[in-house]
């Protein structure tokens, strides 16, 4: 799919990039504004990272906004081994990767079908998917918990023998919940892709699957890239479902495991900050990896009036 998209993207984007303007006062103002905003946005994060490098006693005495006396990476070592982070990172990826891939695959197909074909009940389906995503997840906690404990699974799928406390159950609720959001976004995005493209494909005798996989999906790459980033973040950061639908402590995702760093009577927030920085890293890496997809242009003139 990328093979088909890349030449198109490169061809249209290249002349725009070559067109480098001389630096004008407006440009300087632009950079100044962006830099000031970026610093404001980054400030609280830097403060957190800074706190994670300082001993608790020091920040308790002088406040978080003070000159350092001692800086070290001790809290990182402590968080990494103390909370057994590698183990919980593994759990998180077992849940997050399949959930994101399945969500995007199913949602993009639904959006494709609903935006391209006169499927009966199209409005109903769209409302169903979109409105389902509007629910605060807490609403369905009680019935879902009851249902999960009553649905049996064979042992090779779940060591708990039920949907409750199984990775499959967790992936399923993530997919169900997030598909609605993705269908909604992708449907709106795909509406802007000209129908003529499909009709051309139809003349060539392309099947529904080929129209989806080889015509529409490559054109949806920027939206898919943005969604993959957001979905990875949402599912990765979830802790509600894990809390309600899991019971074995060693199966929990890494965000819940951060709680292991909280003491019963006293919480060393600087240690928690170090753990939080480590936990936030994968989402940032995913953002950097996928950024190119929605930043490098795929300008196809889809909106040509």
């Amino acid at each position: 799919m990328t093979a088909l998209a890349t030449p198109v993207a490169g061809g249209v984007d290249a002349p725009a990039r070559r067109n480098r303007r001389p630096i004008r006062p407006a440009r300087i103002l632009l950079y100044a504004f962006l830099t000031a905003m970026a610093l404001g946005w980054l400030g609280p994060l830097l403060l957190a990272a800074y706190a994670s490098l300082r001993p608790y006693q020091e920040t308790a005495k002088y406040g978080y906004f003070s000159w350092p006396h001692k800086l070290s990476l001790d809290y990182y070592k402590q968080a990494w081994s103390g909370a057994d982070l590698p183990h919980y990172f593994r759990n998180t990826f077992v849940i997050t990767v399949p959930a994101v891939v399945l969500t995007l695959f199913l949602a993009s197909f639904v959006a494709f079908a609903l935006s391209r074909f006169a499927i009966p009940g199209r409005t109903m389906l769209l409302v169903m998917f979109t409105a389902g995503n509007l629910l605060p997840p807490q609403v369905i906690v009680t019935p879902l918990y009851t249902a999960y404990t009553k649905i049996p699974l064979p042992e090779w799928m779940s060591s708990s023998l039920s949907l409750y406390d199984s990775y499959i159950g967790l992936v399923a609720i993530h997919v169900a919940f997030q598909t609605g959001f993705c269908v909604f976004v992708l449907y709106n995005y795909m509406r802007t892709i000209p129908v003529e493209l499909n009709e051309a494909a139809l003349v060539d005798g392309a099947s529904v699957w080929r129209q989806y996989w080889q015509v529409i999906l490559p054109l949806t790459r920027p939206a898919l890239g943005a969604l993959a980033t957001l979905e990875f973040t949402f599912i990765y950061n979830d802790f509600l479902w894990a809390l309600v639908l899991m019971s074995s402590g060693d199966k929990l995702p890494v965000t819940s495991a951060l709680n292991n760093l909280r003491g019963q009577f006293f919480t060393d927030y600087n240690l928690l900050a170090a753990g939080s920085v480590l936990v936030a890293l994968p989402t940032l890496i995913v953002f950097f990896a996928l950024q190119k997809q929605f930043v490098s242009g795929l300008t196809l003139g889809a909106n040509k009036g």
Binding site: V110, A113, M128, L134, V208, T233
Partner: protein
């Protein structure tokens, strides 16, 4: 319910030789096409119906009971709703806060996100660095957000009081019920802007540069190009962002929950739902009723918008 109309349409496509536009389109499907459509639409629809809608309907049912998770389910009619609107004091405060949240995201965070995306789309150097910085707050998990709020707003150790030179007469930004919602709203803007920016960045890539060039040649200035050329072509993304903003405002939960579990001036509807359902009181029926109120509000909004979109597509 949803796959049946599809399969019902399938025989019609092969048997009826004449028909409207829709039929002609469906006739082009081979049997394999229909199979692919049925399976790949069927799975997500089934998942959504089983896990989201069936449980939602169960919750609506529970909202008319006094269920507490232990004793038998007892039907109480509209009593929960009646109490919520009349004597349950946190409810109206939560409604007010949710509306403030909606106004803040809609009037400040969303336009700011669009503005940043627009600036970052201008072929500038280091654009990816800026994008990453603005996006960073979005990736933070609940625990981090709560901690950062303390770092900045804490009365005794926080950075804000020091920066404002108020270390001697510190303001309790999170503890004072008159001002803490505003402090939290600033944090909400901080998180929402990057989210909106990412969506608009993807959307701006779909705007044909030729349109912009044509407008410039016609003598339009930058503001005119933006409001009369770019913004209208962003319409699909605008709708997405609008709906997302409403969803986020109605579902807002984690920042206040991380700060003080949503009490003392920081009440939000989703927090009230959680406190009643998951909390110690375990008033599942009562919490479900608040949830149903929330759901009704948001669904009305979505249906209005989607009906409009689909109508547009038909014309």
């Amino acid at each position: 319910m949803t796959s049946s109309p599809l399969t019902a349409a399938a025989p019609a496509t092969s048997t009826s030789p004449v028909g409207g536009r829709r039929r002609r389109r469906l006739r082009r499907f081979t049997r394999r096409d229909v199979g692919v459509l049925a399976v790949l639409l069927g799975i997500p629809v089934a998942l959504d119906l089983a896990l989201i809608w069936a449980t939602t309907i169960a919750s609506i049912g529970l909202s008319f009971t006094s269920y507490n998770g232990v004793t038998a389910i007892k039907w109480v009619g509209w009593r929960n709703y009646d109490q919520i609107f009349t004597i349950y004091e946190p409810f109206w405060r939560a409604v007010r806060n949710n509306l403030l949240w909606l106004g803040t995201l809609g009037l400040i965070a969303t336009p700011l996100g669009l503005f940043l995306a627009y600036l970052l789309d201008k072929n500038i150097r280091l654009t990816r660095v800026y994008q990453s910085l603005f996006y960073m707050p979005v990736v933070l998990s609940l625990a981090v957000v709560g901690f950062i709020a303390q770092l900045v707003y804490s009365r005794d150790h926080g950075a804000l009081n020091v920066l404002l030179g108020r270390a001697d007469h510190p303001t309790d930004w999170l503890g004072d019920p008159n001002i803490n919602i505003w402090a939290v709203l600033v944090a909400a803007i901080w998180r929402h802007t990057g989210y909106v920016m990412v969506l608009y960045l993807a959307g701006l890539k779909a705007v044909d540069p030729a349109l912009k060039e044509a407008a410039v040649i016609d003598g339009a200035n930058e503001r005119q190009v933006f409001f009369q050329v770019i913004f209208p072509t962003l319409r699909p993304i605008n709708i997405i962002v609008l709906v997302i903003t409403v969803i986020e405002a109605l579902r807002a939960f984690d920042i206040v929950y991380a700060i003080n579990s949503g009490r003392n001036g920081l009440e939000l509807l989703s927090v009230l739902v959680t406190q009643n359902i998951v909390g110690e009181a375990s008033r599942i029926g009562f919490g479900s009723a608040i949830a149903v109120i929330l759901l009704t509000t948001s669904t009305g909004f979505v249906i209005a918008y989607l009906t409009q979109i689909v109508r547009e597509d038909r014309s």
